[in-house]
């Protein structure tokens, strides 16, 4: 498991361009909003939670699409399936190391984007926490979609369609928590719910990913 995680991280570091695509995407989408709408602080403050969360969601899903692609193409996915490690464990390791390289930069950049949208600084902790919980859940969901579509040639279009309905609750509650914190309310209830989503994802998604990988390889 450690060997797999270190292999994945090493590969990520050797292709920084590819890995930072989701973070770049996140920054670009968020910065375009103040430019496209009018840069009034009140307006930006109102839409900040939604904009930051939608951008983060799309960024994570964009990054997730490539999760199993190269492994599938060079044959190492078959080797991982055949390795004595249980496949769900391989899946969660793979998702975690991929999230560290693609999802975490998004979370780290989020406060900066929050400032840009005139999001109140004292609520920034909630923004980061909600994204920390949410992006990993989205990574797990995206991984299920990526595993299902990896064998298809036109899979890149299908994946978001499959995953988006499942991602919507995460988006709703994530953005809601961020909005609550901005209004000075206590967002802990919603954050607990996000944490529950994450726990559910960590428990179930690895099995779904493993089954999906098997199906994709069989055809």
């Amino acid at each position: 498991m450690l060997a797999l995680a270190s292999r994945d991280l090493r590969i990520s570091f050797r292709q920084p361009g590819e890995v930072l695509t989701p973070a770049m995407f996140f920054v670009l989408v968020t910065t375009l909003f103040p430019l496209g709408l009018s840069p009034q602080p009140e307006l930006l403050r109102t839409i900040a939670p939604g904009v930051v969360w939608v951008a983060a969601l799309l960024a994570v899903l964009v990054g997730q699409e490539s999760l199993f692609k190269s492994d599938y193409e060079d044959g190492s996915l078959e080797q991982l399936v055949l390795s004595p490690m249980p496949l769900p464990l391989v899946a969660i390791t793979r998702v975690t190391s991929h999230w560290l390289a693609t999802g975490l930069p998004v979370v780290v950049l989020a406060p900066l984007m929050g400032l840009l949208m005139d999001y109140p600084t004292q609520a920034m902790g909630c923004l980061v926490l909600s994204l920390l919980l949410g992006t990993f859940t989205l990574s797990l969901l995206g991984a299920v979609g990526a595993a299902l579509t990896v064998g298809l040639r036109q899979g890149s279009m299908l994946m978001p369609i499959l995953v988006l309905p499942l991602a919507v609750p995460v988006l709703i509650f994530g953005a809601h928590a961020v909005a609550q914190a901005a209004n000075g309310e206590d967002p802990s209830g919603v954050l607990y719910l996000l944490a529950a989503f994450l726990v559910l994802g960590i428990t179930l998604a690895p099995f779904a990913i493993a089954a999906a990988v098997r199906v994709s390889l069989e055809s």
Binding site: A3, L4, R7, I11, S70, E78, L82, S83, P84, E218
Partner: protein
């Protein structure tokens, strides 16, 4: 130690690749899947390895159904059409990775194994910069790094030069001498290797 296949059958979209295929492989034996392109050698190999779909029949490893035995996965080493090497890592890193996730790894270090397979100078360069033949050799080094009883080699001779073909024969010979067994999928003949032949397909 035996691998037994009972009436295997493979179907691909209403087309029968093979059916009622049975074989038995014991210690020190080599089986070769032969047949023209498109006859289902790779599909059969993937099914035997347990990654591809097997539509009919069953496989037995040491008398137990292979699909349900974890032992089967640790005992086999499958080298497919794609080498399984990550192109951003060096041959050495790839070798060490596969050694570390294998069920039983051998004592042979990366340098020695790769050297024996003829990958010396480029061993520390990213695999993406190697030629196809060198990649194949780097993949073959895994055979030395992992102690697997059953080798499943799909087209092991692809893009190898004559010396490389000799290397594969030599690896196979020493593997079989040590009591191992192997299945090859190739239409070529390997010099000096005695193998049962299983002719596939042709007419579907």
């Amino acid at each position: 130690m035996t691998l037994e296949a009972r009436s295997l059958g493979l179907w691909r979209v209403e087309r029968c690749l093979c059916r009622d295929l049975s074989f038995r492989l014991g210690s020190g034996e080599i089986l070769q899947f032969a047949g023209p392109n498109g006859s289902g050698k790779t599909s059969l190999m993937r099914a035997v390895a347990g990654v591809g779909r097997l539509d009919e029949g069953e496989l037995f490893w040491e008398g137990n159904p292979a699909t349900r035995s974890d032992g089967y996965r640790t005992d086999l080493l499958y080298l497919g059409h794609q080498t399984g090497l990550k192109s951003h890592l060096s041959a050495t890193e790839n070798y060490l990775f596969y050694q570390s996730i294998a069920g039983y790894s051998s004592e042979i270090g990366a340098k020695e194994a790769l050297g024996r397979c003829g990958v010396t100078e480029p061993a520390d360069r990213p695999v993406a910069t190697l030629s196809m033949g060198q990649r194949r050799r780097a993949a073959l080094a895994r055979l030395l790094g992992v102690k697997a009883k059953l080798w499943l080699l799909d087209e092991p001779l692809t893009s190898l030069d004559t010396e490389g073909v000799g290397l594969v024969s030599q690896l196979l010979k020493s593997h079989v001498k040590g009591g191992g067994m192997a299945i090859l999928a190739t239409h070529q003949l390997l010099p000096g290797i005695e193998a049962q032949r299983l002719e596939l397909g042709g007419k579907a």
